[in-house]
Symmetry: C2
Subunit: 324 residues, 2 copies
């Protein structure tokens, strides 16, 4: 039964794919086992992250990119990661718009994922979904995140190429995000480039990039697009492919992916520990008592945390099993 499910996934059955993604979202205990079975079927789908402030036109951009990828007869997966705990109007609307374009195309799989406020946890969930898509035969996964710095999803944990999308009026936004975004962007896009200040922003971004040079051998390009008109999308897609070739030829791709696997491994452990801790606090016991004393102001939080770890207050549930 379970194995049949994996077979259906690998055969590209969308219903199975959707169900498995739901399991990942719910952090179902079956997930590690599913991924264990999926592991030998991975083909190394290429993952492009598209991030930027709301209203920058990320969905439209992704939509247009997806059309180009489809022209090469490649299977596309689109993941829209919603940073709010409940679906916002924006995400649902975005889905509908995307749907209109690609709804009838079996070569495009579209999915929204809500973050459910799980800090850090999202990065591993999205990574897991990318692997499910990969196993289901997806060649390229486009992940859309609302990025303002590294809020909830660290896009670099999943993406091979990170596109940062800005719009001309976001002068303040550039300021805001400067530090974080120059570090993660492989490609900058100024969308709605026809607006006032568009080219000035491209110039500003380029000089900013020239200042904060990274030593990777890749010069981060700044492109202008009008996604809703399809303008500049061809160049953008070509640049993504150029970046991919750069990563592959310099063996940076494999190095990045190694680093990412390691990070996801750590995040998964941390998340499990965090969930167990939360469970323990709900249950009666020494930890809950200690938390109560902290709440009442009887003990300092940092001191109590040290005590919890030192004095064996954390019960067995948090520890790995004893050796036989």
């Amino acid at each position: 039964m379970a194995q049949e499910r994996i077979q259906r996934l690998i055969a590209g059955d969308r219903r199975t794919l959707s169900r498995l993604i739901t399991l990942v979202e719910r952090r179902d205990p079956q997930v590690p086992d599913i991924l264990r079975q999926v592991h030998s079927h991975l083909k190394g789908a290429y993952c492009v992250g598209v991030t930027g402030p709301p209203g920058a036109g990320k969905s439209t951009l992704i939509n247009s990119l997806a059309s180009l990828v489809r022209k090469e007869n490649q299977q596309v997966g689109i993941l829209a990661v919603d940073p709010t705990s409940t679906f916002s109007g924006g995400a649902v609307l975005g889905d509908r718009i995307r749907m209109q374009h690609h709804a009838l195309d079996p070569g495009v799989y579209i999915r929204s994922m809500a973050t459910q406020g799980a800090q850090g946890g999202l990065s591993s969930s999205v990574g897991q979904v990318v692997r499910l898509l990969d196993a289901a035969g997806t060649d390229m996964v486009l992940v859309e995140t609302v990025g303002v710095g590294q809020t909830e999803l660290d896009i670099t944990t999943v993406a091979d190429t990170v596109i940062v999308v800005l719009v001309p009026e976001a002068g303040d936004t550039v300021q805001t995000m400067k530090a974080g975004l120059t570090e993660i962007a492989d490609i900058f896009v100024v969308n709605k480039i026809d607006r006032e200040g568009g080219h000035a922003q491209m110039v500003a971004l380029r000089s900013m990039l020239a200042l904060g040079k990274r030593d990777t051998g890749w010069r981060v390009p700044v492109l202008g697009t009008q996604a809703n008109q399809g303008k500049g999308i061809g160049e953008l897609y070509a640049t993504v492919q150029e970046h991919r070739r750069f990563l592959e030829s310099s063996s940076t791709l494999e190095a990045r992916r190694r680093e990412r696997r390691r990070r996801e491994f750590l995040l998964s452990i941390e998340e499990t520990l965090r969930l167990r801790l939360a469970d323990l606090l709900q249950a009666e016991g020494a930890l809950a008592d200690l938390a109560g004393a902290v709440e009442q102001g009887e003990v300092d939080p940092a001191t109590a945390a040290q005590d919890a770890l030192k004095d064996n207050v954390l019960p067995k549930a948090l520890r790995p099993a004893e050796p036989e």
Copy 2:
């Protein structure tokens, strides 16, 4: 020796205070013990968080607020939390500007804290510094953070009153931050209100707030200021005091502080576990081997994480000590 140090702190010795803050920043192992000793000397300093995008005028606002607090002969602490790993030009410059105003006033203690990329860890560090300031006799602590959503420091983990500062041109920024900021703001300030669109933004914020009503009994006010002219600061300070009275009279203050202590307790445990995990990965052993296999792509990260927790791969260092 150690106890003398605490005595000097409580006597308000700035040098001691600065040294202890440095220990917190470095996550020195002495910290929990210091906080244990400090605990009985806490007087419950009131903490005001000021957050908003860079360039919104937060420093100037805090500077002016501090002057008003000083007029009431209260001791003020100012913490500027820098979101970048190294000091940005902005923070250093901000410090200098503040220094010019309050440098000769022994009733104002000013400190910048860098975040050092410790996700989550910052919230507990800042909380610890606030307690040190409290023990040193500070009546009001003003914490400045660059807030775009809840990036690195969740200001609600430390502040009794959260002021969110915006500027008229940040139309996009408002969009960006809407979800996160309406939830955390106790007071909204539109600074540089004389700029075009200032009053329109106040109106927009008010209708936004009317839509997303919180059921706390506190109506979040929207104020206009020109911090560099000192305009509106008196009203802002009066509003902070009004909010404080509201919290105190509704016993929300104590409830909030209880909740915060609990959160800091959890964050501290999680951080310690995370640091131990990182140490383990550096050392040779079963966990490092497993991480190596994950990196090579031999095992799925999520599966390996489960194995690490299940099969006792995490060695003793991660576990609490055995019972005697």
